[in-house]
C-alpha cells in the first residue's frame, strides 16, 4: 500500500507502507525528510506532525485524547493535524496524502 508525504516546498514522496505499520515508521524507514520520530512512536515528541489533506482527513480514525493533547501544544496546530506515529496503516488509508509540518 502507498501513502504520499509532501514537503513544505511541494516535493512529493510516495512511500510503501505495510498494513499494521504506522505512517511514522514507514516515513522513517524510507527516509522522508522532516519526519524525525524522536520518541519512536510513544506519542510524546510531535516530531512526526503532519497536516493531512482535507479530502483524506475524514478517512482516519479519530485521534485519541493523548494525541490531541500533544497536538494542542503545537504552534502549527491545524484542524487537520495528526501525528504520523498514531496512524496505523490499513486498507481504508490507501493513497492518503500528508504534508510534513516542520518545526513541530
Amino acid at each position: 500500500m502507498k501513502v504520499t508525504f509532501i514537503q513544505p516546498d511541494g516535493k512529493e514522496q510516495d512511500v510503501d507502507v505495510n498494513p499494521g505499520t504506522t505512517l511514522m515508521e514507514a516515513a522513517l524507514f524510507e527516509g522522508v525528510p522532516g519526519i524525525l520520530g524522536m520518541c519512536g512512536g510513544i506519542c510524546s515528541c510531535a516530531t512526526c506532525h503532519c497536516h493531512v489533506e482535507a479530502d483524506d482527513f475524514g478517512r482516519l480514525p479519530a485521534a485519541a485524547a493523548g494525541e490531541i493533547e500533544v497536538l494542542d501544544g503545537l504552534e502549527q496546530r491545524r484542524p487537520n493535524s495528526r501525528l504520523a506515529c498514531q496512524i496505523t496503516m490499513d486498507d481504508a488509508l490507501e493513497g492518503i496524502r500528508l504534508h510534513v509540518a516542520t518545526g513541530a
Binding site: 505495510n18 499494521g20 505499520t21 504506522t22 515508521e25 522513517l28 524507514f29 524510507e30 527516509g31 524525525l36 520520530g37 524522536m38 520518541c39 519512536g40 512512536g41 510513544i42 506519542c43 510524546s44 515528541c45 516530531t47 485519541a64 485524547a65 493523548g66 493533547e69 500533544v70 496505523t88
Partner: protein, 394 residues
C-alpha cells in the same frame, strides 16, 4: 586513514570520564575506526541522529559491539528490524505513552514516600542503593505483574547482565548466566500463570494473551520479560542517580529548582542531555555507506555515541554547561527513530515524582564523592553507590 585519536569504550578509565574523548572524536575523528576492536564510532549529533533514524542502513540486529558468542538470545524488540520490530513494539508502546502512564503517578508517589520515610530521619542515605535502584524495579515488578519480593533477584541478574570487565571485549560466562536466570524466571512466571488461568491485566498477562493469539512466539514473550526487566529499571536508576549528583555538583541549579519547581520537566530533559544513562548503542551496517570520507562496509559494526551527540558544540550552545532552564527537547538521550526508548515517558514520570518528593523533604544535601562508585559498561553509565548527607526542610 591513521587517526590521532584513541578511544576505547571498554576501558574503565574511559568509562570514568568519556567526555574529553568524545570531544576529541567529534573534532578529529567523527567517523572513528577502533584499530583494537574493529568497530566504528559516530560521535557528532547530526551523524548520530541520522544513524538512529536510518534503520535501513543501520540495523539494530546487534546492539552491543562484542564478538557474537554461541549464546542464543531470544528475539528482542530492541534487536529487531522492521517489520518484526513494529509487530513487537506495537504490543507495548500504547501502554507506555505519556497518557497511558500518567495514572501510575499516584502509585509511584506512594512507593517513593514509602521508600524515603525510613531514610529521612537519619539524614543520610545511599541515593542509589536505598532509593534510586528500588523505585524503578519495584514499579516494573508491579507493571509486569510479578511479586515485589522478586525485585532483588531481578536487579542482581540485570546488573550482572550488563556488567563488563575492564578492557574485556567479550561477553562473559557471568553475563550468560545472568541472561539465563532472567529467562528462566519469566518461564517460571509463565508456567505459574498457565496453572492459574484467571486473566490478569498486567504486562505479562497481555503478552501471554498475544502469544496465545499467535502474534508473538514464546521466545518473543521471554524476550519481552527480559528486556522490560532490564531496560525498565537500571537506566531509570542511573538517570535518577545522575540527577541527584548534578543537582548537588551544580548547587545553584538545585537552588533554582527549589525556587521554581516548574522547571522540573526541563531539568529532567537537561539531565538526560547532559549525562543520561545510555551512552552508546550498537548498529550493524547493512549496505556500504560513506560518511566524512570514510566508507563503512556492509557487516561492519558501529557504536552510535548518544551522549557525545548531546555534547556536540555544533548543536548546543555551551554544551558542557548543566542548565536546567535549557529544556532541550531534541537530545539523543533516549535515542531516536524506531528504537527510541519506549519507556521514556515512564522514566520521566518516575524521576519527576522522585525529585518532587526529595524537594519536598530535603533542604540541602551533600554527595560524599569519595565514596561514590560506578557500574561498568561501555553502553550505560551511572553510579552504583551515591552516598549523600542531607538536612530536612523545616
Amino acid at each position: 586513514m591513521n587517526s590521532p585519536v584513541e578511544f576505547d569504550p571498554y576501558d574503565y578509565a574511559t568509562q570514568d570520564d568519556p567526555f574529553p574523548g568524545y570531544k576529541a572524536l567529534r573534532d578529529h575523528a567523527p567517523v572513528y575506526r577502533s584499530r583494537k576492536h574493529g568497530f566504528w564510532l559516530l560521535s557528532r549529533y547530526d551523524d548520530v541522529l541520522a544513524a538512529v533514524r536510518d534503520a535501513k542502513t543501520f540495523s539494530s540486529r546487534i546492539i552491543t559491539l562484542e564478538p557474537l558468542t554461541d549464546e542464543e538470545l531470544p528475539p528482542l524488540v530492541i534487536t529487531s528490524d522492521p517489520p518484526d520490530h513494529g509487530r513487537l513494539r506495537h504490543l507495548i508502546a500504547p501502554m507506555l505513552t505519556p497518557a497511558a502512564v500518567a495514572p501510575l503517578g499516584e502509585d509511584i508517589r506512594q512507593l517513593t514516600r514509602r521508600l524515603l520515610a525510613p531514610l529521612l530521619p537519619s539524614g543520610r542515605m545511599d541515593a542509589i542503593v536505598d532509593f534510586a535502584q528500588r523505585l524503578p524495579m519495584a514499579m516494573m515488578c508491579r507493571l509486569l505483574g510479578v511479586p515485589m519480593e522478586d525485585e532483588d533477584d531481578l536487579r542482581r541478574w540485570t546488573d550482572m547482565a550488563v556488567d563488563r570487565k575492564d578492557g574485556v571485549f567479550t561477553t562473559t560466562e557471568e553475563n550468560n548466566l545472568a541472561n539465563q536466570s532472567i529467562y528462566r524466571y519469566f518461564e517460571t512466571q509463565y508456567q505459574q500463570r498457565l496453572a492459574d488461568p484467571a486473566p490478569r491485566d498486567d504486562l505479562l498477562g497481555r503478552l501471554m494473551a498475544a502469544e496465545k493469539e499467535g502474534r508473538i512466539s514464546h521466545e518473543e514473550f521471554l524476550g519481552f520479560g527480559y528486556m522490560l526487566a532490564l531496560a525498565g529499571s537500571e537506566t531509570t536508576r542511573k538517570l535518577l542517580g545522575n540527577m541527584i549528583y548534578y543537582l548537588w555538583k551544580f548547587k545553584d541549579q538545585w537552588k533554582l529548582l527549589q525556587q521554581d519547581p516548574s522547571l522540573l520537566g526541563s531539568a529532567i530533559e537537561e539531565t538526560v542531555r547532559y549525562n543520561g544513562p545510555t551512552h552508546m548503542m550498537g548498529r550493524l551496517v547493512t549496505t556500504d555507506i560513506t560518511l566524512h570520507g570514510q566508507t563503512l562496509k556492509r557487516g561492519d559494526k558501529v557504536g552510535v555515541l548518544l551522549m557525545s551527540g548531546n555534547r556536540d558544540e555544533r548543536k548546543y550552545t555551551n554544551p558542557d554547561v548543566y542548565d536546567i532552564r535549557r529544556n532541550p527537547r531534541d537530545h539523543l538521550g533516549f535515542g531516536g527513530g524506531l528504537h527510541a526508548c519506549v519507556g521514556a515517558a515512564l522514566a520521566r514520570l518516575e524521576v519527576k515524582i522522585a525529585i518532587q518528593e526529595l524537594l519536598h523533604a530535603i533542604d540541602d544535601y551533600h554527595v560524599i564523592e569519595s565514596a561514590c562508585t560506578r557500574t561498568h559498561s561501555p553502553q550505560v553509565r551511572g553510579f552504583a553507590n551515591l552516598p549523600i548527607e542531607f538536612t530536612l526542610r523545616t
